[in-house]
Amino acid sequence: MKKVKIFTLSFLLFALTISLNSCQKIEVDDSTPDANILSFKSLEELETTIE
């Protein structure tokens, strides 16, 4: 009976590990320099930059 319990627990642990590994996780590299903000003199300058 004890062996059956150990086997069942081991199997559940194995299934949980597989399940967690299959989940997607997206790592975001949002490391940015300090004062990382762009500054424009005018709206026109900004529009020229993004066109």
Partner: protein
């Protein structure tokens, strides 16, 4: 600016924009294996990069601020500076404040939240329930025969508050977005797109505020493409004297799988 030009520009400036961060995040998601909205939301716990909404009863997934041109000049907090003011992108809208209030603006999460404080100016409304501008808009879309791909063309003409200095502008704008079907719904996808679009807005009482926009391309590799034209309606502030309406609509767009047409 093409994707490659923008990447090189970012490197030269030592700048990583919100647009680049959210685009990279979005492209890392395998929409063909995600089985629940909860699983998808768990990838973006702080709700920073992923836009999830329902359209016509179906789920649609896009990178946040996909249709905001400023996303590639805004920083990771969606902020940029013009002159002595700081601006924040929020759900397609744009809110500004004096640069001294940058920390307060950084905390603002919605256009509605900004609208109740005199410290902030709302420069563009975007996708919120808060409406104070005049507009006419239409959406045209088509799905491929095997229901795997979709193309959507959104057109709009509006009068809106401009900023720095405050004045009323008329804008004519369109956005083309391509989608692919995932297990849960449609996700935006880069596809070679051919389009020919002509839009015109004309006011019988004020021809000087009339506008037109013409754009065409063959096999333009786009996930979403947005462009606009503007003209001055009133240099002294807000006016609703001239209603923006479309006088001509000619839309034709195809991504090789789905095609949409509209003529008025």
């Amino acid at each position: 600016m093409s994707d490659d030009e923008r990447i090189n520009w970012g490197k030269e400036m030592n700048f990583k924009s919100f647009g680049t961060i959210s685009k990279t995040f979005f492209e890392g998601i395998n929409f063909d294996s995600i089985k629940s909205i909860e699983e998808l939301k768990a990838l973006d716990k702080d709700d920073k990069y992923l836009n999830i909404f329902k359209e016509g009863g179906e789920w649609v997934f896009e990178p946040k601020e996909l249709n905001s041109l400023e996303r590639f000049v805004a920083n990771e907090d969606k902020l940029f500076i013009i002159d002595s003011n700081v601006y924040k992108l929020i759900d397609g809208g744009l809110v500004s404040s004096d640069i001294k209030l940058i920390d307060e603006l950084k905390k603002i999460r919605s256009i509605d939240e900004a609208s109740v404080s005199s410290s902030f100016s709302i420069n563009r409304v975007g996708n919120t329930t808060f409406k104070s501008i005049l507009l006419e808009e239409h959406t045209y879309s088509d799905v491929s025969w095997d229901k795997e791909y979709k193309i959507k063309v959104w057109i709009q003409t509006e009068n809106f508050w401009a900023f720095n200095p405050t004045r009323t502008l008329r804008e004519l704008e369109f956005t083309i977005t391509n989608y692919k079907k995932g297990i849960l719904g449609w996700y935006s996808k880069k596809l070679p797109t051919t389009y020919n679009i002509y839009l015109e807005t004309y006011d019988d009482y004020a021809s000087e505020v009339g506008l037109w926009i013409e754009a065409s391309a063959s096999m333009h590799d786009i996930e979403s493409y947005n462009t606009y034209r503007r003209t001055l309606v009133d240099p002294n502030g807000w006016t609703n004297k001239y209603n923006p309406v479309f006088s001509v609509i000619r839309v034709s767009a195809s991504n090789g799988y789905a095609s949409t047409y509209a003529v008025n």
